[in-house]
Amino acid sequence: MNETDKSRQSFLAYIVGGVVVLIFILLPVSMNVGRYVLSLLFTFFIYIVLSQSWNLVGGYTGQFNLGLAAYFGSGVLSCSIFYSSGINPILSLLAAGFVAIALACIIGLPTMRLRGVYFSIGTLALAEALRLTVTNLWPTSLYVPATHYERFTILTNYYMALGLAVFTIIVVHLMVNSRIGMALTAIRDDEDAAKSMGVSPTKHKVTVFVVSSFLAGLAGGVFTLFRGVITPTFQFTPEWTFGPLVAACIGGLGTIVGPLLGSVFFVILQEIFSQTLGKMHFIITGILFILVILFLPRGLVQSATTIRQLFKSKL
């Protein structure tokens, strides 16, 4: 592939991406899609944000953060608290993102010193500690002001989630295609070599971790405005880490398309089986996940490339 090929390809990607976003924008106004489809797409958008956020750390720096739920949960909780204390909902939403950043700085940064498996179990342990603490401090449900349901229809929530998903993809795209992206790949491939060339691993890992937390926090805020009533402890459960992780791994680590593809897959699978088997879809997801890790370590995206190459070589 030469440079013009590559730029043509990314041009094509922009066009496709733009058309898809346009379809999502026009969908609710042009068709009478109903609450069910909109909520499903809402979930899908939140999954895109969370899996992109997870992938930013997991895929691009190779550090598997098992504590994403803490940042999502803190976004949900703080947005709810700000909102119910009379602050404007949009400001509460933004504040949720910054609370997640603050959390990343206080409890996340110490774990940045950990490498590999230590990082993973450290983040998981802190997320669980936070979940238990939150459960103790806010054992009951939290409510948004009564005026909320007049201001926010399902359509508003839909567009907010769509907007956040698009924002997330743009942020991730800009980041990984900048000099920061080069440094991240270098660090992931060989930390010592990166250091020897003047790349500071800590600085870059921290940057990415903070951005990732910010996105997860915003996702939490959007989720709060969708749900209205929230029970904090449920938003801190590891499921909120595991879902995005599975989506990113199945789709393809370290790519932007991967988490998108994985989210489609995950949300559809969840929806199909939740009608018939309830939580049992996790069994199928789990098996699929294991198979992907073992046989397609770079996810469905890679297998798409492999199949395309196979065709090319045949022709």
């Binding site: 190779g62 598997f64 110490p110 774990t111 010193r113 950990l114 590999g116 498996v117 230590y118 993973s120 179990i121 450290g122 998981l124 342990a125 802190l126 669980e128 500690a129 238990l132 603490t133 103790n136 590891p238 595991f242 992780l245 599975v246 791994c249 939580k279 049992m280 996790f282 069994i283 997801t285 789990g286 098996i287 996940f289 294991i290 890790i293 073992l294 370590p297």
Partner: protein, 287 residues
Amino acid sequence: MIAQIIMYGVIIGIFYALVAVGLSLLFGVMKYMNIAHGSFVVIGGYISFWLFNLLGIDPFLSIPFVLVIMFVIGLIVYGLVFSPLKRFAEGQRLGNSMLITFGLILVLDNLVAFLWTSDVKTITAPYSGQVIQLLGIRVPFTSLGVIGVTFAIIGILHLFLSRTYIGQSIKATAQDWEAASLLGININRTYLIACGISVALAGAAGTAVVLMYSISPYSGLEWMLISMIVLVFAGLGKIREVFLAGLALGLLEQLGVFLLGGHYRAVVGLVLFVLILILRPQGLFAK
């Protein structure tokens, strides 16, 4: 009062060592991180539960059955999940073992919920709730039994590792698998057996869990985290130090309960755990 706290700390600490020893063995031998360890604990608990409820087998007497059944499950898990991991380069195996066993959690926990509903289950044996006065301290009878079982199992494990050929090859493989394979040790078979033993030990811990606490399909994570804390306290892969590490965690948790209240029992352990990860990654008791 203080004596009571210490006594509970010791009891729970020894029990924690039992929960963690299988995970430590697996990590020590194969350098795999099995984060589904807690799910195996839960499955072991269910086996004891059903043996007690359907066949009326006393939970303490059911331990040999649990060990055998879980050993076989361990062999199957090795064949299906751990053995294919060898396709990866050595540097990638640890990370991938974590991801794969994470997938295993999804499968096992939901399978358990599917088979046995998500109700909380516990065993009420005739002697449950009986208390023994020991030097003026009240000790539940089941806890005392669990301590006995833990000593027996860790003792047998120690004898097995130091006295039998397979045990010796497990130890040799843990130290240096390349050197071990040069000595003619069948590495695959050693891994297979180590994995079986690890899962069997998790199962035995499950019996203790269902006796002392209760089990439900999604409680595996809690036991996995406790094993992980003990593992890190002991130093990764150190089997002998697990006992001390379990005791340390049990005592520290009870101290936390005393100072902050019961709701923060697990938080104390988890926060200490992260501190130790950062400050002393080689473990509390490593030289």
